[in-house]
């Protein structure tokens, strides 16, 4: 069948590559020349301004606040999400200690699995609306509970000290379910006899998790880390819907700065593209770094 190989490959590869090129690569590439112009987006006239946009960017204090927030997200979102994801997944898959024979999850793990995955099927906008009501300072679920317990009830989304953290919590909440399922599936692929041996040796759940499960799951954790790092550099929809970057820019993120600069408070498409270019390089370097730092020897089950 050597004869018909190329037409076949081309037929299958061409359409997706074309679509990807047209709707992903090409717009990306265009952002680079646009970032060196003062284009305002609604006519064909613009001037090349060289690197002036990038100079402005260095002095844009609102943008730096956003960069700081993205840096915090980059640090905390993967750690919290992967930590919780691993914990829940191991409880669901091997947390049970019923009998010595089998490795099983805690009681009711099927129901938990469903519940954990629930946020994943909701659209981000719905999640934002839901949590906006949960955080409602007077009628919200959270403050209602706190008041019931006689605790102080902060204005979560209206206070610069708490707004960003409140949204971070929602980000973790909405992501964790997916990683529970991802890690769960990877755990299921680990041979049971390893666990049986570990249990015979009398290892605790914690030792099993850190000394056996995580090393064996490292590939999956690495993938999760990259996904979450990229998600941490975004965070746009939740922030825009829940706080719109406020109060006083305290919960701003780079993506929201870019969007507001092009579409909402101004129409500086040139400057917004410069922000986009910076974001592109940030995301790229984070992905490369995450791959490098987490590189380890691959373990294969024989």
């Amino acid at each position: 069948m050597k004869h018909g190989k190329y037409p076949l490959i081309i037929t299958f590869l061409l359409p997706p590559l074309l679509l990807y090129g047209m709707f992903v690569i090409w717009p990306y590439l265009q952002a680079f020349p646009i970032s060196t112009t003062n284009w305002l987006g609604y006519s064909r006239s613009y001037d090349f301004v060289g690197l002036a946009n990038f100079e402005t960017l260095l002095r844009d204090s609102a943008l730096w606040k956003a960069v700081r927030n993205n840096a915090i997200l980059l640090l905390l979102l993967p750690i919290l999400t992967i930590g919780l994801g691993l914990f829940f997944a191991s409880m669901l898959n091997m947390g049970g200690r019923r009998g010595a024979a089998g490795v099983v999850g805690v009681r009711g793990s099927a129901a938990y699995r469903l519940v954990y995955f629930f946020p994943q099927v909701l659209s981000v906008v719905i999640i934002a609306l839901l949590w906006k009501e949960v955080y409602h300072p007077n009628n919200g679920l959270l403050n209602g509970t706190l008041r019931g317990l006689g605790l102080p009830a902060p204005t979560w989304l209206g206070d610069p000290r708490t707004a960003f953290w409140a949204v971070l919590a929602v980000m973790v909440w909405s992501n964790v379910g997916f990683y529970v399922v991802l890690f769960g599936a990877a755990m299921a692929a680990i041979p049971r006899d390893i666990y049986e041996a570990v249990m015979l040796d009398g290892a605790s759940r914690w030792t099993t998790l850190t000394k056996v499960t995580i090393p064996l799951l490292w590939d999956t954790v690495q993938v999760a880390w990259i996904y979450l790092a990229i998600a941490a550099l975004d965070g746009f929809i939740l922030i825009q819907q829940m706080t719109d970057g406020g109060p006083n820019h305290s919960s701003d993120v780079i993506g929201l700065r870019m969007y507001n600069t092009a579409f909402v408070s101004e129409s500086k498409f040139g400057y917004a593209s410069a922000i986009g270019v910076v974001m592109f390089f940030l995301t790229l370097s984070v992905a490369v770094l995450a791959l490098r730092v987490t590189r380890r020897d691959r373990i294969e089950y024989s």
């Binding site: 090129g21 987006g41 006519s43 064909r44 006239s45 300072p137 719109d244 109060p247």
Partner: protein
């Protein structure tokens, strides 16, 4: 490799190359510096019946912002247009994302003929005007009104409508709905409790004290859009110091935000923060949440424009009877009387400069501004229009009726500012953030005005933003 293989590969390569060539021309910048066009497209002959010279069979494309007003009112206006020009077909569409839907079409030089540029997806007017992307509407003002005999369109408009749509003296934007901005309260609540709306600031504070003692919070506001509170603060300052306060702010004059009038006003308003007259938790509420708290009687006052009544229609209890009132006077030295209220036209409509049927767009505006068109709008969406006297003979809801009365009482003392149209970012981002800090009690009046002034200075110092002057 034989000849057939080579041929086949060349064919495959050209298959790849052709679409790529097509791609390269599809640039977001539109390719090339092209400011030609804008010749106005279709032109017909001017007659007494057709003073603008509409080409009778030229199609007209109208894009409506599908927000609080919906799109039905526009369909009615379109029907009036086609009734007069039966040969014209109208392409109607409605969207909530004006900017994202239309941005590529502006760049392509293929924009619609009429755009209702409104809502959260509004395109920044500063950029539209500075890029010559929208048409001058002056011709429309001098055309005779469609159904008010003996008057030009200009004569039929309420005061301020032309000013608020003008950039450097050119009338570019038709703001169709007329809005009053003031302080709102429930007439029922006030009657039940025996409260009376106070005319001076001292009385206002005294009443706040009484309201708080009765167990209700005196104030709430849109905590996540705190710019709503900049309206009463600036209004109070203008009433205290006169129209020059607003002009200085609009023209980005140095220290305009730190004028004596702004200081007096900020100091006064600080009282409601200091004395705890704002509903706890307010900074965490968005506009709908805060308005709902107010409708439930958890707060007595709220600052808003006259769209409030229709926005709150679904949650307002029967007999709530919301009323609008001007901001209280600071004292007998105020330059404007208590009755003076901020009235202005909103809900912007524009005709793109490169519209294929620019004159049709102007004629569409003339239809909207006819007495029939305006009254139909008021009936359908319970809002006032830019056309003077168009509410006569129409049964208005309670709140809108108080708006009409307040505007009548204000008369020639009415005032407005336009910096929010000139420099969208200044109000929506910078003053907004400053108001949030101030009304949450995190900054003092001096710090608040400093932050506003810093925002204004940032805009003034940004050479990439075009500056406009008002008089």
């Amino acid at each position: 490799m034989n000849r057939r293989d080579i041929l086949r590969r060349t064919a495959a390569a050209s298959l790849l190359a052709v679409p790529a060539g097509g791609l390269l021309t599809g640039c977001a910048l539109g390719g090339g510096d092209d400011d030609s066009g804008g010749d106005g497209g279709a032109v017909g002959t001017k007659t007494a019946e057709n003073p603008l010279g509409v080409k009778e069979d030229a199609p007209l494309e109208v894009v409506i912002f599908n927000g609080g007003f919906g799109e039905d009112y526009a369909k009615a206006h379109e029907a009036m247009y086609t009734a007069k020009y039966p040969k014209a077909t109208i392409k109607h569409s409605a969207t909530q994302e004006i900017n994202k839907t239309l941005q590529p079409r502006f760049v392509d030089g293929n924009p619609p003929d009429v755009v209702n540029n409104s809502g959260a997806g509004q395109i920044d007017f500063n950029g539209l005007v500075s890029q010559n992307a929208i048409a001058d509407l002056s011709e429309l003002l001098d055309a005779p009104s469609l159904d008010i005999p003996g008057k030009t369109v200009r004569d039929t408009l309420l005061p301020g409508v032309v000013d608020v749509g003008s950039y450097d003296g050119k009338f570019m934007v038709l703001n169709y709905a007329y809005t009053a901005y003031g302080i709102w309260y429930s007439t029922k609540l006030f009657n039940d409790k025996g409260w009376e709306y106070p005319k001076t600031w001292d009385d206002h504070i005294a009443l706040c004290k009484k309201i708080k003692a009765s167990g209700t919070a005196p104030w709430t506001y849109a905590g996540k859009h705190p710019r709503y509170m900049s309206w009463p603060v600036i209004s109070t300052a203008i009433k205290f110091g006169g129209m020059d306060v607003a002009k200085a702010i609009d023209n980005l004059e140095p220290n305009a935000w730190k004028s004596d009038a702004m200081k007096a006003s900020a100091d006064a308003w600080y009282q409601i923060v200091k004395d705890g007259y704002i509903l706890p938790g307010t900074p965490g509420l968005d506009h709908v949440q805060s308005q709902t708290e107010w409708c439930r009687g958890n707060a007595a006052f709220i600052s808003c424009g006259s769209w409030l009544e229709s926005e709150q229609k679904k949650v307002t209890p029967a007999g709530f009877n919301m009323s609008v009132a001007p901001t209280p006077s600071l004292g007998p030295g105020d330059k404007l009387p208590f009755e003076a209220i901020r009235g202005t036209a909103g809900e912007p409509f524009m005709v793109p400069a490169k519209a294929k049927n620019r004159i049709g767009g102007l004629e569409y505006f003339r239809t909207m501004l006819s007495m029939k068109g305006a009254q139909d709008f008021t009936r359908k969406v319970s809002s006032l229009t830019a056309v003077a006297g168009s509410t006569q003979g129409i049964d208005l809801p309670f709140g809108l009726n108080t708006v009409v009365k307040a505007l009548d009482a204000s008369g020639s003392n009415g005032f407005n500012w336009v910096y929010n149209n000139f420099y969208r970012k200044l109000e929506r981002e910078l003053v907004d953030a400053a108001c949030g800090e101030f009304f949450s009690g995190r900054t003092t009046p001096a710090e608040f005005l400093d932050q506003c002034q810093k925002g204004a200075d940032q805009i003034a110092g940004d050479s990439s933003i075009k500056k406009y002057k008002r008089s």
